[in-house]
């Protein structure tokens, strides 16, 4: 991300912020979509994060940390959307793809489907940690900067989230399925 663009946006140049937005919005939306598992909520969270970023840009302490700061705003916006939607009872049950009971040539598809179901079971906070670590490839220190926990807490929470995911996969894998291809 260009430091010059960030500095111009910090100084109130909306064209610069527009350029920053166009460069980053696809990734931001992808992160929000992964965390929230809902198109509408992800769009809302992305918008909210961008509006907050524009408003508070003049007080960004270090232009080089714009990306991390933006992710932080986004993750908090995701928490907010998640809490709000839960409170309002408008989260609709996620539609889990129906498992095709035809024998699958490889195990990957089945594994991915199990992964999707396991991921759905995680809390938004746990999903955020997983997304930051495995989708963005951030280090525990970088994740700590985003979520605002100490590094040790990030490590333990991340470990816990991945263990839950692995446990879900292992549990699913132990359940015989009609057709016998997952036994």
């Amino acid at each position: 991300m260009s430091r010059v663009l960030v500095e111009r946006a910090m100084a109130g140049d909306h064209d610069a912020f527009s350029e920053l937005t166009h460069r980053s919005i696809a990734k931001l939306h992808a992160i929000a979509r992964l965390i929230l598992r809902d198109d509408e909520l992800a769009e809302d969270a992305t918008q909210e994060a961008l509006v907050a970023a524009w408003r508070w840009m003049p007080r960004l302490r270090d232009p080089d940390r714009f990306e991390a700061w933006m992710r932080r705003l986004l993750v908090h916006a995701c928490y907010r959307e998640s809490s709000r939607s839960k409170r309002r009872r408008h989260i609709e049950a996620s539609v889990v793809p129906t498992v095709d009971l035809e024998p699958d040539p490889g195990l990957a598809f089945a594994r991915r489907d199990e992964l999707a179901r396991g991921f759905e079971r995680l809390s938004p906070e746990q999903r955020a940690l997983i997304v930051l670590r495995f989708y963005l490839g951030l280090s525990p220190q970088e994740i700590a900067d985003v979520v605002g926990y100490p590094v040790g807490t990030v490590k333990s929470r991340l470990s816990r989230a991945t263990q839950r995911l692995r446990a879900a996969l292992d549990a699913d894998a132990r359940v015989p399925v009609i057709g016998g291809w997952v036994a």
């Binding site: 907010r80 995680l122 746990q126």
Partner: protein
């Protein structure tokens, strides 16, 4: 799953596949249209440059919109005027609030899958229920001796109860539910009203042959949090029934649906709003059961109907039989107001006031004997409904975005940030020692 590396690789590949490659059409344009209308905060060389953002990420008073500042200024002047009335007229003084028969216990809250407790006087949170389980939404029993919470069990939701010290954790129901959207302790602490996927019922706690079974109420659909009458003889639901939609009492025992206390206007656009049928929501009895607070959208002055959670939504209070309905409004200029919560003595109502991207917690006296008070606006349009301390002397408010918690003096609106983060908090109520 054979190895950690295999799992990591699978997870990374799956996330890459799941992530949308491009943003939805028009998202950037919509966001930038909003930012174009949004004023940036002033750059400053003050504390914000040096302190962690979570300590400074709030709106300075001077950056408030003029309208809001004017309202606050007017309220301060009114407060000063009201305080000077007794001095000028001699005798009349503000009525004393009724002393609570309860004292404050611990605040329980959920954080990343664990249930934590904190004594706000001490301020050192401790894990009450930890481990590898994913636990959420704690709620103290009415006598403060037990705590309920929702546990994720293989993707389903189990309602759990533990002793107040976190021991003797038990599953309330014999089988977990697809979800638990709300639960409420009965006043005598023997059972819980539960809402799950549009159904509502009660379940008794114990090991007897009739315990642990969710006895559902024969209604088509409920979207409201059940609220028990303080006598425990009924609870209130928002329901869609063959006879109409609205707020209904459900008798207990028997689970018979009574006559509607207030019916929805199903012809209004509000009823079929884009976020669902949510015209009457969040109904709750006052502590003595004589009144009901609830949330409803209103016909705006320009003829538009408000949408739940959108503009023109306001809190109402009515008598328990549905009469004497009145709007409890803090400000006619606010975007929307919700989250009503009765004080323990039932004389006041805390509410969440939202304007733009900010919210305030306001406290209204229902008989108008005191002027409303409100906190300084907080950067975050969303807040959980505030929670009164059992002794009625404090209010706990939580900023949804990051769980930052404040204790508010309900007499002045002055708030104090707490050094702990709370989500889904509940305040333990303990009897005053004789």
């Amino acid at each position: 799953m054979n190895t950690i590396n295999e799992f990591d690789e699978l997870l990374t590949a799956w996330l890459a596949d799941e992530a949308p490659a491009t943003e939805p059409d028009g998202l950037a344009l919509v966001a930038l249209a909003r930012t174009r209308r949004t004023r940036q905060v002033a750059s400053t060389g003050l504390l914000e440059r040096w302190l962690p953002m979570e300590l400074t990420f709030r709106r300075p008073m001077l950056a408030m919109p003029t309208r809001l500042l004017a309202i606050l200024l007017a309220l301060m002047l009114l407060l000063i005027a009201a305080m000077s009335v007794p001095l000028l007229l001699g005798e009349r003084s503000l009525p004393a609030m009724v002393a609570s028969e309860w004292r404050n216990g611990l605040i329980a809250y959920a954080r990343v899958g664990d249930i934590w407790v904190v004594d706000p006087q001490v301020g050192e949170p401790q894990v009450l229920i930890g481990g590898m389980t994913a636990d959420d939404e704690p709620g103290w029993s009415p006598d403060g001796t037990r705590i309920a919470f929702v546990r994720d069990v293989g993707g389903k939701a189990a309602l759990m109860v533990a002793d107040a010290d976190g021991t003797d954790i038990r599953e309330v129901m014999r089988d977990p539910l697809p979800s638990i959207d709300w639960y409420a302790w009965s006043p005598d602490g023997t059972r819980l009203a539960v809402e799950s996927a549009g159904r509502v019922g009660t379940v008794s706690i114990g090991d007897g042959p009739d315990d642990g079974i969710l006895e559902t109420v024969p209604i088509d659909r409920s979207l409201s949090m059940p609220s028990w009458h303080p006598e425990g003889t009924s609870f209130l639901v928002r329901a869609e029934t063959p006879d109409g939609t609205g707020l209904f009492p459900v008798s207990f025992p028997g689970r018979a649906i009574g006559r509607s206390i207030r019916k929805s206007d199903t012809t209004s656009p509000l009823y079929a709003g884009d976020r669902g049928r949510s015209d009457l929501m969040e109904a709750a009895y006052s502590p003595d059961g004589s009144r009901i607070a609830y949330l409803q959208g209103q016909l705006a002055t320009d003829g538009r109907y408000g949408v739940f959670g959108g503009p023109d939504t306001r809190n109402h209070v009515m008598d328990a039989d549905g009469t004497n309905d009145q709007v409890i409004e803090f400000s006619p200029t606010s975007d929307y107001e919700d989250g009503a919560s009765f004080s323990p003595d039932g004389t006041r109502l805390s509410m969440v006031i939202r304007e733009g991207d900010f919210h305030q917690i306001a406290v209204m006296t229902l008989d108008g004997s005191r002027l409303p008070v409100a906190t300084e606006p907080e950067e975050d349009p969303n807040a959980m409904p505030a929670i009164w301390s059992p002794d009625g002397r404090q209010i706990l408010a939580v900023r949804i975005a990051d769980g930052v918690s404040y204790l508010i003096d309900p007499d002045t609106g002055v708030k104090t940030m707490q050094p702990w983060l709370a989500n889904w908090a509940d305040w333990q109520r303990l009897p005053v020692a004789p």
